[in-house]
């Protein structure tokens, strides 16, 4: 049931300190005091404020008598200028720590603000791996979605608004100092958001599992996350206030985060980043649409692992071809059952865009950990099939 690993290659496993459990966000003031925060910048977005999760944090800060500044002037797929605006406010308000409350966008934005402020550099200068010289101010993440796992990962994805490209900042310095993970915060998500983020978690687990940088530890997390998503995502949507499914989805997201943060991703994310950067399309949906064709492309190179995934989700076939098709069918069924039914063309992607999108995707660092190194034409074909 377990793949054979080459232990001669030494591996590292990097996760932040995190607390997982309902209501744990109420401990936020303890950590603000521990990190000697005097003036906190709360990075969030209007939706989260509306859902009341920012207020939960402010309530605790008020009790602790800590001053705060709210920064919510940001959009999905956070842009470089939004980050720099946050840096300006962080500096001018004399803030000394950051609390990110929300999904991937506020958390990635908060990471960018932190490193840009201490290093006095533009956020785009950190593009690449290990390009951040100095650590950021203390960062507390309180995720309100189950999927992005920015509260776990050493990734921060920021859109370069000039080049219309998402850049990846990979560094230990963007790992939060503490994450307070409570599934209760995900009960306010819409069905669409639950679906999109849930599929994002599934893709994280899929890509980390078959990544050429996977390790026994990342495999354990990834395979368990795939299992949890298949068993709980639809039920979470059907019973949005049932904390059982929400907790399982949050666990799936966290495990998938631990996996992809250390094993990285593959062509689905490379291509989704390209779509997000170039056309500002939602990350979860793009992932959801691309996964099936990516599995088809990758299957040959990592059949053994895909077969284990298949067995994990209850596929009984023995032949590779059958397993592959059943696996793709199960993914398609899940996607459609949670309501993601459109195609890329429905989201405005034209055939003419494909060359450009593939060009950006082939340069994405996620490509290098894909089980097989694709040609640019391979990526073009996958885009075409997904149109």
């Amino acid at each position: 049931m377990y793949p054979i690993h080459n232990y001669s290659e030494p591996r590292k496993f990097l996760v932040p300190e995190f607390i997982i459990g309902n209501d744990c966000y109420e401990m936020v003031d303890i950590y603000v005091e521990t990190f000697l925060g005097r003036r906190v910048m709360i990075v969030t977005d209007p939706g989260v404020i509306e859902a009341g999760w920012a207020d939960e944090v402010i309530k605790r800060l008020k009790i602790a008598g800590v001053e705060y500044t709210i920064f919510s002037d940001l959009t999905p797929n956070p842009k470089d200028y939004e980050v720099m605006k946050g840096v300006e406010i962080f500096n001018s308000e004399g803030c000394d720590m950051i609390i990110a409350v929300g999904g991937g966008s506020p958390m990635d934005c908060a990471k960018g603000i932190g490193i840009s402020s201490t290093n006095m550099m533009h956020v785009l200068e950190f593009e690449g791996v290990d390009q951040v010289p100095q650590p950021a101010p203390p960062l507390i993440c309180i995720p309100t979605t189950a999927g992005t796992a920015a509260d776990i990962s050493q990734f921060a994805i920021i859109t370069d608004s000039d080049r219309k490209v998402k850049i990846a900042i990979v560094s230990k310095t963007v790992i939060p100092d503490i994450s307070l993970i409570s599934a209760k915060t995900t009960t306010t998500m819409s069905d669409e958001l639950t679906a999109a983020t849930g599929i994002d978690a599934l893709v994280h687990a899929f890509e980390a599992y078959v990544s050429n940088a996977s390790s026994p530890i990342t495999d354990l997390n990834a395979i368990r996350a795939i299992d949890l998503v298949f068993k709980n995502l639809l039920k979470a949507i059907e019973n949005p206030l049932d904390l059982t499914y929400r907790n399982n989805m949050m666990l799936a997201s966290t495990l998938a985060g631990m996996a992809f943060s250390n094993a990285s991703l593959g062509i689905v994310h490379a291509m989704a980043h390209s779509l997000g950067g170039f056309m500002d399309l939602p990350h979860g949906e793009c992932n959801a649409l691309l996964l099936e064709n990516a599995v088809e492309f990758n299957y040959e190179s990592s059949a053994e692992k895909y077969n284990i995934i298949g067995r994990t989700i209850g596929i009984r076939s023995e032949k590779n071809d059958e397993i592959k098709h059943e696996l793709i069918d199960r993914i398609r069924d899940l996607r459609k059952s949670v309501g993601i039914t459109q195609r890329l063309s429905d989201m405005g992607v034209k055939k003419d865009d494909i060359g450009k999108l593939a060009g950006f995707a082939i340069e994405d660092p996620c490509v290098v950990t894909n089980p097989v190194m694709p040609e640019i034409s391979d990526l073009e074909k996958i885009y075409e099939k997904t149109l």
Binding site: R11, D130, A213, N262, S264, P365, V367
Partner: protein
């Protein structure tokens, strides 16, 4: 473009992603923190050292440094010298404003000056009075500059104590004034003396001829009284000339070691007789050294003049005149006050009265000749300048202190004579005739004739010659024909002294009398070494001539 096609770069990137790149190694920020702390420690130490150096520098200067806030004048910092200078201690001084260390009356002005300095123009303030903690005033030179520290404007002031320099400058000015005064008096004296010399010669002729006429017409009731009046008037004129000549420093005098207290006592006794009895005269007679090389007549003259002045200063003839004596050693430090004196032991006379005093604005002029406050006809204005001249001739000093309405005090310093006191006999006053062959030499014909006539009157055998070369030739021809030579000093070609030298070269034992006028720069000592036997002061009187000639010829 396919960036990731190169296997090597793909492997590298993958390695980095899975956290095995060089830069992925977990960083401990402790060393960085430690280094930063060390940096701060070093910076702190340097700051302390720098502050120490600044303190040492600040406190080593002899100037008082004050730093104050330019906006409100409050002191920010003062150095040790500033504290010592003003007598405040640290802690107290920082509570003051800059104007507090100046006298009340000066504050407004100094604040105005500082206001100008604030505008950046560097300025030096001179002789600014500074009020010390104990209230005493010192004078400072102030140098200012401005300074910006921590966004605050400051003014740095360097105070230099110039109190002593200022005093010595004032003293120096006083000394210069005194020297100028002395110089002025000297030149006036020379001028007066010059006039007196010529006048003296004229007077000699008048008096000589009058005396001769008097002798020849002593029984003529008609002419004799008139001649006597001419002689009396001439005598008064001669006395005035004598006084004029006393003003100058080169006049002849009869100095000898004298005990001045007894000399002054005699004068005082004389003045007592003529001073109204309502004026009290206190003459203290303490035990002190009073032996001074002095011309007693001139000392007497001083007393008479001082008495006259004091009595005049008591319009209601009531008051007190006090004469006191003491000894004073004039050393280096007291020379400041008496720049004309030499170091040494002095006999000091203080002559004071409680009369009307002298107004401050004219006190500098009282020794000027012909300067007088008396109405016309009551005084010549020569009194005090004569005193000044006499004292000058005695190598002494006279100074005056006076306050209008309270009285006047003259302080006279005369150098103590270190030699021995000698008794001298007073000359007889009788005119005696005698016998002898006398050669009279004077280039001024009338004078020569007058002297010749006087000697003839005394029955001497006289040869009058009006040229010194003729005289020498006459003597060379028959040296044995003369018993005595009387020659004038100042003559063309061969002066009196040279003639005496030539004559004495031929006949060393022959007596020579030298007649000297006021301007003759000759000391008795140098004339004596040539062999001159005696001196006669011009104008030569019959009495004097008779006594001198008789004395010399009788001792032959």
């Amino acid at each position: 473009m396919k960036k990731h096609s190169d296997t090597k770069s793909v492997d590298e990137l993958r390695n980095k992603i899975i956290g095995l790149g060089d830069k992925s190694a977990r960083k401990s920020y402790y060393p960085q923190l430690q280094a930063r702390i060390n940096e701060l420690e070093i910076a702190k130490k340097k700051a302390e050292e720098s502050e120490n150096r600044f303190k040492i520098l600040l406190n080593s200067t002899s100037d008082g440094i004050f730093i104050y806030y330019s906006e409100n004048g409050k002191l920010y910092l003062a150095n040790e010298t500033a504290c010592r200078m003003t007598g405040y201690c640290h802690g107290d001084i920082e509570n003051l404003s800059i104007s507090d260390i100046h006298p009340l009356t000066y504050r407004e002005k100094i604040l105005k000056d500082f206001e100008i300095m604030k505008n950046g123009e560097l300025r030096l303030l001179r002789n600014v009075p500074v009020k010390k903690h104990d209230g005493t005033i010192i004078y400072c030179e102030i140098n200012a500059s401005s300074l910006k520290m921590d966004d605050q404007d400051f003014i740095i002031l360097a105070y230099r104590d110039v109190t002593e320099i200022r005093e010595s400058e004032l003293r120096q000015r006083e000394i210069e004034k005194k020297l100028n005064e002395a110089q002025k008096l000297e030149s006036i004296g020379i001028m007066a003396g010059g006039v007196a010399h010529d006048f003296n010669n004229i007077l000699s002729v008048i008096m000589g001829l009058t005396e001769i006429l008097l002798q020849q017409n002593s029984r003529d009731e008609k002419i004799s009284p008139k001649l006597k009046k001419i002689f009396e008037a001439s005598t008064r004129a001669r006395d005035l000339i004598k006084q004029l000549m006393t003003i100058s420093y080169h006049g002849n005098d009869e100095k000898k070691p004298s005990h001045l207290i007894s000399v002054i006592n005699e004068s005082v006794a004389m003045m007592r007789a003529t001073t109204p009895s309502s004026i009290k005269i206190i003459n203290e007679n303490p035990l002190c050294h009073d032996l001074v090389m002095a011309d007693e007549t001139q000392i007497n003259q001083i007393l008479i003049n001082l008495f006259n002045n004091s009595v005049y200063a008591m319009p209601d003839r009531k008051g007190e005149i006090k004469i006191a004596y003491s000894n004073e050693y004039i050393d280096e430090s007291s020379l400041k006050y008496y720049p004309l004196l030499m170091k040494g032991q002095y006999f000091t006379i203080e002559f004071s009265d409680n009369g009307t005093g002298i107004k401050q604005e004219i006190i500098d002029r009282v020794f000027d000749p012909f300067y007088t406050t008396k109405p016309k006809g009551e005084g010549t204005g020569l009194g005090l300048s004569i005193i000044h001249g006499i004292i000058k001739k005695h190598d002494g000093n006279i100074s005056v202190e006076s306050e209008a309405g309270k009285g006047t005090k003259f302080i006279i310093h005369l150098p103590i004579y270190e030699g021995e006191y000698m008794e001298t006999k007073s000359d007889s006053t009788q005119i005696n005739k005698g016998q002898g062959r006398i050669m009279v030499v004077d280039d001024e014909e009338t004078l020569a004739e007058v002297n010749g006539e006087m000697l003839k009157l005394l029955d001497y055998d006289v040869t009058v010659i009006t040229s010194s070369t003729d005289a020498l030739n006459a003597f060379k021809e028959k040296p044995e024909n003369f018993d005595l030579i009387i020659t004038d000093m100042t003559m063309p070609e061969l002066n009196g002294l040279d003639l005496a030298r030539e004559i004495l070269g031929i006949r060393p034992e022959i007596p020579v009398i030298l007649c000297t006028g006021f301007s003759d720069q000759i000391t008795k000592e140098s004339a004596m070494t040539v062999g001159v036997r005696e001196f006669l002061n011009k104008p030569v009187t019959l009495k004097n001539l008779a006594a001198t000639v008789e004395h010399i010829l009788s001792s032959e």
